[in-house]
Amino acid sequence: MSELDTFAIELPPEAAQVGAARLFAASLARHFGCDDEAVEDLKLAVSEACASAIRAREEGSASGPLRVAASREGDRLVFEVGGTALPPRGVASAGAPGSGDSGQQLVVALGEDLISSLFPDAEVTRNPGGGTDIRLTLLIPGESG
């Protein structure tokens, strides 16, 4: 029978909290035995997703606290960041809507690029409450059979 363990952290949607979200994700991944490279990849993706979630709240497309959840699903660890401004998979990014700021658009594009490169199987789906949710999956070492 597979175990299902869920962990979650809710933080004020502020730039100062993104580091705490990374620490949470990294600590869990290490606890489940993920190696340093996997942990670094996860930290980067979670950081990008949280930055996107904060942007979504600033733009008004999402609301509420910054939430990072992690679930153990069999031999996998699945991290989810809710209410981001990331485009759903298959939809090209429109950049920072209405901002006209090329610097901001560059950061948005770089962030999406990083996530896609590190987690090509990441799932990004619309959140009925606003924005999108991203799910990042790591294999737990030694668990797959």
Partner: protein, 103 residues
């Protein structure tokens, strides 16, 4: 400062929260007339797109004025971020400040 070069030593994590300080420092140097700036990332443990965006923006500003923005970025997680985004080919990267200045 080292000769004609200004050196910005960055430490710790560069993300949405801390990156504005890097931008402020580089902007301050440019406004003071420094167009040759080495950004030392040797003691940076984390850098994401916010930091990259600031470095790209600074590079573009300096290039418009025939300036330069080499990075000190040894192999590690930060250099890996540059590689993943293809930016390691855009920024001259060196292993030390002396190497960056002497190049």
């Amino acid at each position: 400062m080292q000769g004609d070069w200004a050196v910005v030593d960055v430490k710790g994590e560069v993300d949405l929260y801390t990156a504005p300080k890097l931008r402020e420092r580089i902007t301050e140097l440019v406004e003071q007339g420094h167009l040759r700036i080495v950004v030392n990332l040797d003691e940076v443990s984390f850098l994401d797109s916010t930091g990259l965006g600031i470095l790209v923006g600074a590079l573009m500003r300096l290039r418009e004025r025939n300036g330069a923005l080499p990075l000190v970025c040894p192999e590690g997680p930060v250099y890996r971020v540059l590689e993943i985004t293809g930016l390691e080919g855009v920024f001259p990267c060196y292993r030390s400040v002396d190497e960056a200045i002497g190049a």
